[in-house]
Amino acid sequence: MENKLTRSLYRIPYLLWILLFVIVPILLVLYYSFFDIEGNFSFINYQKFFTPVYLKMTISSFWYAFLITAISLLISYPTAYLLTKTRHKQLWLLLIIVPSWINLLLKAYAFIGIFGTYGAANSFLKMIGIGSRQILFTDFSFVFVSVYIFIPFMILPIFNALDELNPTLLDAASDLGASKWTTFRRIIFPLTIDGVKSGCQVVFIPALSLFMLTRLIAGNRVITLGTSIEQHFLVTQDWGMGSTIAVFLIIIMVLIMLVTGTRKRGV
């Protein structure tokens, strides 16, 4: 009896936390989304969201988030695989994670310097004879910097999945005559798919609402839903519209979690 009581007592802080910092804020966002700029109850924000402007923005956010995730994955999987083969795995892993400790803004400013007209990237292009190109404020620079920032978050879960892989399975596969490609396709990849999925979630969802980089690196040539939320809250003070976009982002994120989530029921 007493054990039960203390157990529910221990649960209180956790429940309070969930209530105050997860459930209440989401409900507040939902609540605000039903008010127009003058504070009257209306559905106008939802109507507005389905106009070409916001739909286009949603699609382009998706497109960039997809690009960023796909490229991160293409780079991260082989990297993680090679990492598991090195002798000092933990050290190499640390070296990859260290840049993520540096403030995002600082990295963005560094890239402005590197990609600028007179920056290191352009001097290199000149040296090899291609000549100066505009790199900063292009789609390329935006995707490049975003991928650079997200890569550690993609590598970690994949690395963990690969590291836990039982090597005897690979031996068994080669004993049974599987080629390297078949081994990868039928054994390694299916067994690490959970790592890939969580890596994709961790990258795709924040990439969908990136906002600082769209100004600093893309010079507002790329407008994502995140940029628009920031503008509605801080500049226009149209909290209703900002909240409506946030509601759609939350819905999209939940859908993505459901699609990519691991179904471990019954285990």
């Binding site: 700029i37 003058e38 007209t117 100004r215 500049v235 226009t236 003070q237």
Partner: protein
Amino acid sequence: MNKLVRFFLVIAVVSAVLLYAISSLNSSQGYTGSNTLTVFNWGDYIDPDIIKRFEKETGIKVIYETFDSNESMMTKIEQGGTNYDIAIPSEYMIDKMRHEHLLIPLDHSKLPNLKYIDNRFMDLPFDPQNKYSIPYFWGTVGIVYNPKMLHGKKITSWNDLWASNLKNKILLTDGAREVIGMGLNSLGYSLNDTNKQHLIEAKEKLDTLTPNIKAIVGDEIKMLLANREASVGLVWSGDASEIMSQNEDLDYVVPKEGSNLWFDNMVIPKTAKNIEAAHKFINFMLDPKVAAKNTEYVGYSTPNKGALKYMPKEVVNDERFYPSPELTEKLEVYKNLGKKNLAYYNELFLQFKMHRK
């Protein structure tokens, strides 16, 4: 269990020690509750030496915090939970804050230095009789450009920006009213126009400028222009003077069709805890010598008539920053257009940003 308890004990002890260290550090520097003044200002908008001098002369400790847009400043004050004693918003925002009762009336008897302010800048429509605000700086919106990079070509009008040889050479400041205003000005409309037809026309005209625009950025614009990343920029006059002090090749022009004239003003928001010290600070900033020194640092135009004689002649006579009365006539002050119109401006600005080359 024992391990867990010890773990939490260590965390508690470390937190207590850190807390004690912070509070003793603060009090050793004089930051106690009743003796501080929190100033909420634009980034890089005051000479740090002046704050030090104010602290030395009055014994009041200044906590300096910055914002990067009028709107975000107002949001913070509106939300409460802050204790800003001084804020420095622009004129249309003062109008708005005044109507929403976010400001505390000033006691003019505590501001003897008010007499140094030029009469031109007193008693303006956004705050009759300066009940709530005292002018801090004023300036214009215009074009900064690099004649060397443009092969000696001169820019005098907004419409010059549409020239085909400026492809991918223009940087814009990330402000809805400034950019839409540029479109309105180039068509000869008022900067406070709320006619939807005119606004859409302006936005469509701006869309045709897209091939010439390299990026729309924030404060980085100063660094980018000074480093010759682009040859033309839409900026506030003070940013222009700062850019020009870093790179002498650049020139600033207020386009002949007219432009925006703005004022930043010192106010005491309702979040103030130390109103006495806030008055002292405003009065200190109005002192002609202090104002002159501050102007030299910041680079915007001072409304303080007394300060002009302490400043270099070539600055005071520079018509780019202290425009002649004829040009001043064509400059317009932003009016508070109300939330709805402002939202429409921002909506158009967003659409303009999304317009691809």
